[in-house]
């Protein structure tokens, strides 16, 4: 992350105030988003998303597991993020750990809702095979290859695309057994179920610079931010998760305003993302 001189900082802040960012965008315009699905054939689902200079890959692997005793009727999802040193030299060794765990937690909150499972973007009940005994465990992994700001939005989009691309094999419970024994299951090799992603939310990060908010900040703009709020909104316009980063405090009215701006931006973003994902899936089917 290169430092900026005082003159350059004024230039960035002044641009945002005048609605003319350093690459000519308006405050609420996203950079072009490119989506590619099926990039990792060994995974159940995968996708690569590029927003300007930010490049991330998400993969979904499904494995058979046991549901937790607190929620015997739901499957489990785990999110891990890895910031690769190719993105930034500072990510080498243990440097990227803090950022990775922060991103993973924010994504977990946005996609899976609260502890009771309420408000989850992913329907965990659809992962169940046999109540209390067998369920699918989804391991969602994200890899940051190149970082130019707005990692959370890119990872959220990549996970949404990867989930759309995910095919979970059909499972038949072959024999009925006594309550305390594990049932035998038969995992089909041919039949697959597509994961239902109509309620998976997208994440929009609003970065506050001075007195204005911008969407999709580049690394330069993020270095000038006072705080950032990431809001995940689903297709119905409901808020699924909220995360605030940054040292400076925010007045509650500002947060409410940011939420309404995010909802407005999400409408465009969601439709754009959906069309990109379906185009990517279509071209993947062709090749």
């Amino acid at each position: 992350m290169v430092g900026l001189s005082l003159g350059e900082q004024h230039f960035v802040k002044g641009g945002i105030a005048q609605d003319l960012r350093t690459d000519g965008r308006k405050r609420l315009t996203y950079r072009p988003i490119y989506v590619e699905t099926g990039v990792i054939p060994q995974a159940n689902g995968s996708a690569r998303v590029k927003i300007g200079g930010t490049d991330v890959i998400a993969s979904v692997k499904a494995e058979i597991g046991r549901p937790s005793s607190l929620q015997p009727d739901k499957g489990k999802v785990a999110v891990f993020i890895d910031c690769s040193p190719t993105a930034e030299p500072t990510f080498g060794g243990r440097g990227g750990e803090e950022l990775s765990s922060e991103l993973a937690l924010a994504l977990h909150r946005c996609l899976l809702g609260g502890k009771s499972g309420a408000g989850a973007g992913i329907n965990l009940s659809s992962l169940l095979i046999k109540e209390g005994k067998v369920c699918w465990d989804l391991y969602i992994d994200g890899l940051v290859i190149s970082s130019d700001g707005n990692l959370l939005d890119a990872l959220g989009a990549a996970i949404k695309a990867a989930l759309t691309n995910t095919a979970i094999p059909k499972v038949n419970v072959s024999a009925e057994v006594a309550d305390d024994e594990q049932p035998e299951i038969d995992i089909s090799d041919e039949e697959y179920l597509q994961f239902d992603t109509s309620s998976v939310p997208v994440i929009v990060t609003l970065t506050k610079v001075g007195t204005h908010y911008i969407v999709d900040a580049t690394a330069e703009e993020e270095s000038q931010m006072s705080s950032a709020v990431s809001i995940s909104v689903n297709r119905a316009g409901h808020i699924c998760g909220l995360t605030k980063r940054g040292g400076s405090g925010l007045d509650p009215s500002v947060i409410l305003d940011m939420i309404s701006v995010a909802k407005h931006v999400t409408e465009n973003l969601m439709s754009k993302l959906d069309s990109e994902i379906s185009a990517a899936e279509a071209s993947e089917d062709e090749s």
């Binding site: 005082l6 230039f11 003319l20 130019d148």
Partner: protein, 303 residues
């Protein structure tokens, strides 16, 4: 911001137009194709003596390349220039750099080169334009002149005895700290040596400095003023739009691999204005194709 080679999704018609323009450019460019990959053999006239330079190696009587790039013949020197090489400083070059360290009686400046540049306290001009010997008080006040992360423009001086690179700031207001603008990074080989590297575009009121190290500065015109005084005035919206448009023109040219000179930048700028293209859309595929066609057309007319 480092400019990655952005992948552009071109639809079918755009692909056809793009390829046609590239074909025309290839046919118009210099006849011999000197690009080589590793272990290619370099054709030589064996009767003449030659000097083998970087990227070559004499194996079994054959001169082979050790890197991928373009073969350059300069008098008797044969070497291979790689495409992503770092800047190789030459005396007298104008460069744009960023201060990384304030040290005793000098600043260390990053130049996108194998070494950092050294700017001595004695080579800058003082605000009162009086040449005087630098005292210890001036050393303590170095931070008032240039701090870490400041962007400046300088001329490359001689390499010092211990191998480090010396920078000079001439005693005029043109060289010095750069404010109110943006710094762009392109590959160094895209900026060729010319007689003029500072360009003041009068119609737009913009300074454009093409550093030979690949750092390009686009900013509002700096009046001659006391460098110690901080000027906090905001840039007008019109000037800002022009700065951003030129900045994006440079980004597009760098993505496509065209040499960056003032004429090409201004042509791209006027093209974007004529076609009424939004500043941000300049980075889209349609404009890239338009620029390629425009360049092919221009070369065809000159040839």
């Amino acid at each position: 911001m480092r400019m990655p080679k952005v992948e552009l999704p071109l639809n079918k018609t755009q692909k056809v137009r793009f390829e046609r323009a590239m074909e025309m450019l290839k046919s118009l460019s210099s006849t011999t194709n000197n690009s080589v990959i590793v272990a290619d053999s370099i054709p030589l006239n064996h009767k003449e003596a030659f000097l083998k330079g970087h990227g070559t190696s004499l194996i079994d009587g054959d001169l082979l390349t050790t890197v991928c790039g373009v073969v350059i013949n300069v008098d008797k020197l044969v070497y291979v220039r790689t495409l992503r090489a770092r800047y190789k400083p030459e005396v007298g070059d104008i460069v744009v750099g960023r201060v990384i360290k304030v040290a005793q009686s000098h600043w260390k400046v990053e130049l996108n080169s194998t070494q950092d540049g050294v700017l001595k306290l004695s080579s800058i001009n003082m605000p009162d334009s009086v040449q005087k010997r630098m005292t210890s008080v001036d050393e303590l006040n170095m931070r008032n002149i240039l701090v870490e992360d400041d962007v400046l423009c300088a001329q490359v001086g001689e390499t010092q005895r211990d191998g480090s690179l010396q920078l000079l700031l001439a005693r005029s207001h043109k060289y010095g700290k750069l404010d109110k603008g943006q710094l762009l990074k392109v590959d160094p080989y895209l900026v060729k040596r010319s007689n003029l590297h500072f360009h003041f575009i009068e119609t737009l009121g913009i300074d454009l400095i093409l550093g030979r190290n690949g750092f390009i500065w686009v900013g509002e015109h700096a009046q001659a003023h006391d460098p110690m005084v901080v000027d906090d005035e905001n840039i007008s919206s019109k000037t800002r739009q022009n700065i951003l448009r030129i900045g994006n023109a440079i980004r597009v040219l760098s993505n496509l691999g065209f040499t960056v000179t003032l004429e090409v930048i201004m042509e791209t700028f006027y093209l974007s204005n004529m076609e009424n293209i939004d500043i941000h859309d300049m980075l889209g595929s349609e404009f890239h194709v338009l620029v390629t066609e425009n360049q092919a057309e221009r070369r065809r007319r000159c040839a």
